[in-house]
């Protein structure tokens, strides 16, 4: 087919932050489907709650302290996370490096506390369906936590190499910030479901 040039793309930039970049949309897509998974798992839990008038099935109450500490750590981490986002947008290498190290540590810290969260549920996964759902919800979130921290650490290392000096990498840092928000936000409802719902019954 014959062609006639009608538009020149030469001046376009070679990377963009946030919604301008396809990776951001890909991250959003994965958040949507993982969020759907969270919602359905929570829905399944609530469905079982409505079936049984004495939910908790005579198991002891969970100890909420480790979970509460995790919650506070996660919420606190949102502040440096967003500061880091600003650095990434400005492609400021030194600050981004510091920010990434901080975020790696702030990712590891809740994982350490998470270790104590499982025994604090005061029930095993194979005791009854209540125990099963608690472990499933906590396990689901822990998987996300682990993978995102792993991701953050790899990206941190990358930013300390010469590969970091590229617009795309700063975009990756921005997307990492975005995903961490998701991991923190999904935790809040799960925290309430695991620790506070059983106290009602």
């Amino acid at each position: 087919m014959n062609q006639r040039p009608a538009l020149d793309l030469t001046g376009l930039p070679t990377f963009g932050h946030g919604p301008r970049s396809p990776t951001w949309w890909g991250t959003l897509g994965f958040m949507a489907l993982e969020g759907m998974g969270f919602a359905l798992a929570a829905g399944a839990y609530l469905y079982l709650v409505t079936l049984w008038p004495n939910w908790r099935l005579s198991a002891p109450q969970p100890n909420h302290w480790p979970g509460t500490i995790v919650t506070l750590l996660l919420i606190a981490s949102l502040v440096p996370n967003h500061i880091l986002n600003g650095y990434a947008k400005r492609c400021a290498m030194r600050s981004v490096r510091i920010g990434m190290v901080v975020m790696s540590l702030l990712g590891l810290a809740p994982l350490v506390v998470r270790w104590f969260e499982f025994p604090a549920l005061n029930i095993y996964w194979d005791t009854n369906a209540y125990g099963s759902m608690l472990w499933v919800l906590l396990g689901l979130h822990t998987t996300h936590l682990i993978t995102d921290v792993g991701d953050t650490i790899v990206l941190t290392v990358l930013m300390f190499t010469h590969h970091g000096y590229s617009g795309r990498r700063f975009g990756d840092v921005g997307d990492n910030v975005f995903y961490w928000d998701f991991v923190v936000l999904t935790w809040i409802p799960i925290y309430l479901l695991i620790y506070w719902l059983p106290r009602l019954g």
Binding site: M1, N2, Q3, R4, P5, A6, L7, D8, L9, T10, G11, L12, P13, T14, F15, G16, P19, R20, S21, P22, W25, G26, G29, F30, A32, L33, M36, G37, L40, A44, Y47, L48, L51, W52, L57, R90, C91, A92, M93, R94, W125, D126, T127, N128, A129, G131, S132, M133, W135, V136, G150, V154, L158, H162, H163, Y165, S166, G167, R168, F170
Partner: protein, 658 residues
Amino acid sequence: MSSADLTSERDLPPERETSVRGDIAPERDGPRDTGMDDASLHRWLARTWRTPPGIIGALSSVDHKVIARRYLITAFLFLCLGGLNAVAMRIQLSGPQRGLIGPDLYNQLFTMHGVTMMFLFAVPIVQATGIYLVPLMVGTRNIAFPRLNAFSYWVYLSGGLFAWVSFALAMAPDVGWFAYVPLSGPEYGPGKRADVWAQMITYTEVSSLAVAVATIVTVFKQRAPGMSLDKIPLYVWALLVTSFLVVFAMPAVMITSTFLILDRLVGTHIFNPAEGGDALLFQHLFWFFGHPEVYIIFLPATGMVSAIIPVFARRPAFGHLGLVLSLIAVGFLSFGLWVHHMFATGLPKLGASFFTASSMLIAIPNGVQIFCWLATLWDGRPVIRTPLLFVFGFFFTFVIGGLTGVMLASVPLDLQVHDTYFVVAHFHYVLIGGSVFPLLAAAYFWFPKITGRMMSERLGRWHFWLAMIGFNAAFFPMHIVGLWGMPRRVYTYPAELGWGNINLFISAGAVLFFLSFVLFAFNLVHGALRGTPAGDNPWDAGTLEWATSSPPPGYNFARIPIVTNVEPLWAERGALPVATGLRVDVRELLVSTVAEAHPDIREKSATPSIWPLLAAIAVGATFLYSIFTPWAIIWGAAPIAVTLVGWFWPKADPEDEE
């Protein structure tokens, strides 16, 4: 809109805002396509975008066309395997009390048939068609996230092999394609068969989800300049809506299968009523996915029909906007309907009537689509070729399936024919009418784009009539035996019931239908090797995939086309407007804005890599091992992490990375 002002109103931020302190390397520039003559442009792009030579090269390919071809062939092979299962079942059922296949094997046969058709054929083949066509139709050079796309194929392949190897070892699932608990639970499903089902489901969902995200982002961000929302081809719309259905429905089945394997493997009690769980929860979760699943299979098929009819009617689709809105409406409504699969479970009355009503509501947008297609044909000058014949076959079959569907949506009738052959007849009319016939139309239609050659028209007509006659002979009488009371999923029946003759007839029809696929396979191979060369646009179609040569080169388009109309090739008969200014020495593609498709960024697309394959192997091995021990997840995490880092880590040259 004139193409010259596409970028004019944009406020582009300065290109490299903060390189003052050297925080990012200054962009290296390279040769561009501007002003380059066609021959050298082709040489440059061919080298930049080629799939590397050799076995390792082939396994590293990230070209969406290469991967789509693999997907298509693999899915077609699974169709043949699933069809062989069906024929085996029909031979066993062709007369009362035949001793060919015992109950145990029969259970594996229908389960593998259903699982293969739904998870290894129907969904993968519509997604594979999308992987091939969507990037071409929106005028871009590769799909978004090409490595993820490659990964999804390898995951799908390993999941399918896993299921079929287990079948060869007599370890195949035998609990039906929807594997209800308690039958599939730890108590009644000993051995590893239900675990195979559970993990295989998870595999195929991983792959579907990855493809869905890649498709959505391709449509959102990589459309050719000027392809605003109202100029997106209907087929692309259909795939976009389908991908959203995948994103919101598939997690439900992943949750179901994960809960099931947890119950089986580590002793959770999620579906166990004795310990506070619930068996019906399984059905809710499963059908929350399972009903949209039908539309995941059906919507792309309607997109194919919407692409094919205008070409053969020789006029643009009637009611473009109406068709788009119907697609979206069907997508939304499909989520409200899952409970109609559970009328026989004793749900409260009010709930049941609500779901009956909404099941009937979905007939409205489907009706709108059919009306628009008929109006297009009515108002055009239809040229009847094989693709259009199969579209007619789709109309006929799907309408019958739809009618029996409306019948089943009424609770009293559903209770009557529940789990009889009436249901088997209904869903084959819907699935084969609604998806296989459009797929066959699409195969004839787009074959020249994929291979550069035409399939035989004469064989195509033979194929069509053989398929129509065989199909209806096989499935229409099933309604009747169903009403007589013949249950599904039985390996035989006593002679006194008098079902022998009609079942013989059904089986003969099934064999005929199967043979029509043998003819089709012959036509495919014959066409690929000996068919007449097709040229770029053999049907004189209007959408962008026909603007490039057949088969398309690795880079799809030498220069990015500019879109001024839904059928740009019909609107721009003289010369297609194109954009220039992309680099030719690296894999640069154009990223555009979501609504208006204004040019926004020049971004690099991923280079070939073996890591997606290695990652899929690590994931596959982990899943396989996990049907034996939960520790597999712990041991598997390390190799998976290593392969993912390998995939993510840039190559030596920062210019050359993903």
